[in-house]
Symmetry: C2
Subunit: 242 residues, 2 copies
DNA sequence: GCAAAAGTGTTGTGTCTACACCCATGT
DNA sequence: ACATGGGTGTAGACACAACACTTTTGC
């Protein structure tokens, strides 16, 4: 049967249990970082695991993921949450046949949720030793984010409400893992109507330099912005938004 | 507990059960068609469902999907199978809390597997009344296919080993749902090294016309061919395949 | 005035669509 | 010869990268 919360884990194994796991990503100090907690007990004592836990009867997978996450991160701080995949290899967890549905969650860079002592952010290209197959899941989350940054507006989930273009460039650069030009990023995102200027400017800093104009994302829900590059329908079917 | 094969389905429901479902698509007679079987019993007696069934202990989700599919379609006829999503809404199946992991399977257009009497192909834009939430799952499968046709080589899974360009154009047109130009399709796929000429030509038909050159897909495993359109890394980092 | 950061103008390139034109086959 | 389909050549439209140049701030 599905594992009931509170059941002693030393009982004979049911046919399967099901957990949800979340790859929560945020750009911190110029690097893409993942939220991990350090296991105190075997298996994999001392190694780092994704936040998550058992699925409760009657809840959806997304609710389960949000519920387990609420222990680590205030749920309202998650700007986006989407399902990644469900893993089912019989040996992915020792001693138990455990299905895991992984989610990708994104936290805007201006938030800093309070975390329990055993939990922390880790730059994604210097992960500490992972528990189970969680290392691979984190990488799958990064790939998903990279892809969606290119053809959707997911950027909104990494950015604060308002930002300058250089700040946004740094977020994209950290998430994509390569240099990004603020000049070209602006033109791409404005042409696609993904971002718009707010009209105000950031207060000038102490180091000099022209203060940057502030922008915001037009939509803060996921939308596809590159309606597919290739193999478009024929004809003069290009409608322009006003 | 996970439902064991042969268990009477009238026993009390466990906390959850888990099934796999497959959206199997093939281009038939110029239309994209999905494989469905007609339910004999309630719930949803007479309505059409996706092939699939309960997950057995110790098998992976993909193995489960292939196993259930083997009843309907010879597994070797599936050119591609990938996971779509896992559904968990508590009310998606009446009287039972059932998780379902959906897969997308593709069958090349030159195959015609033998099917059980209750099973058949249905053009995807004129589906018969679906059981459960299977209508939405089929549409999700089509969306996935459309997207991947644009930036991967999935076309191989819809096409026979060898084909002319007009045949391939018809497959793409059926799957994408809009007209496709054979001229441009050829140039896109050849430039990206997705297809190559075999050297031979199709035997001339009875209606006249120049016989078409035969092509094949270079790879018959999924590969990303449009390494992302936008937000590429900077610099002269364009390597060309030989 | 000078350094630093932001923003704009402009040019070049690659990739795709559209369409005209040529080629090969059957009747 | 002519109809029917296959294939190539070429021109135009975008969208993007790169980079020079201008603007606005602090010192």
């Amino acid at each position: 049967m599905g594992r009931k919360p509170g059941t002693d884990s030393t009982t004979a194994h049911p046919s399967s249990s099901h957990v949800t796991l979340a790859v929560v990503l945020q750009v911190r100090a110029g690097s893409l970082a993942a939220l991990l907690w350090q296991r105190a007990q075997d298996p994999f004592a001392g190694r780092w695991a994704l936040p998550g836990g058992y699925l409760d009867p009657g809840e959806t997978l997304e609710q389960s993921s949000r519920r387990h996450l609420a222990v680590k991160v205030d749920v309202r701080e998650l700007a986006h949450l989407e399902q990644l995949a469900t893993l089912s290899e019989p040996d992915r967890v020792p001693g138990e046949w455990q299905l895991a549905t992984a989610y990708l969650g994104l936290v805007p860079s201006d938030l800093d949720p309070v975390l329990p002592a055993d939990t922390g952010w880790h730059p994604i290209d210097r992960l500490p030793p992972p528990a189970f197959d969680h290392g691979a899941i984190v990488l799958a989350g990064r790939e998903r984010l990279r892809g969606k940054l290119s053809y959707t507006n997911v950027g909104f989930a990494l950015a604060p409400e308002e930002f300058t273009l250089s700040e946004l460039r740094d977020l994209y650069a950290a998430a994509l893992g390569h240099a990004v030009s603020a000049t070209n990023l602006q033109r791409v995102l404005v042409r696609r109507d993904v971002i718009e200027p707010t009209g105000s400017r950031r207060a000038p800093g102490p180091v000099g330099g022209r203060p940057g104009a502030l922008y915001r994302f037009r939509e803060r829900r996921l939308a596809i912005t590159d309606q597919f590059a290739v193999l478009r329908p024929p004809g003069p079917a290009r409608a322009a938004a006003s």
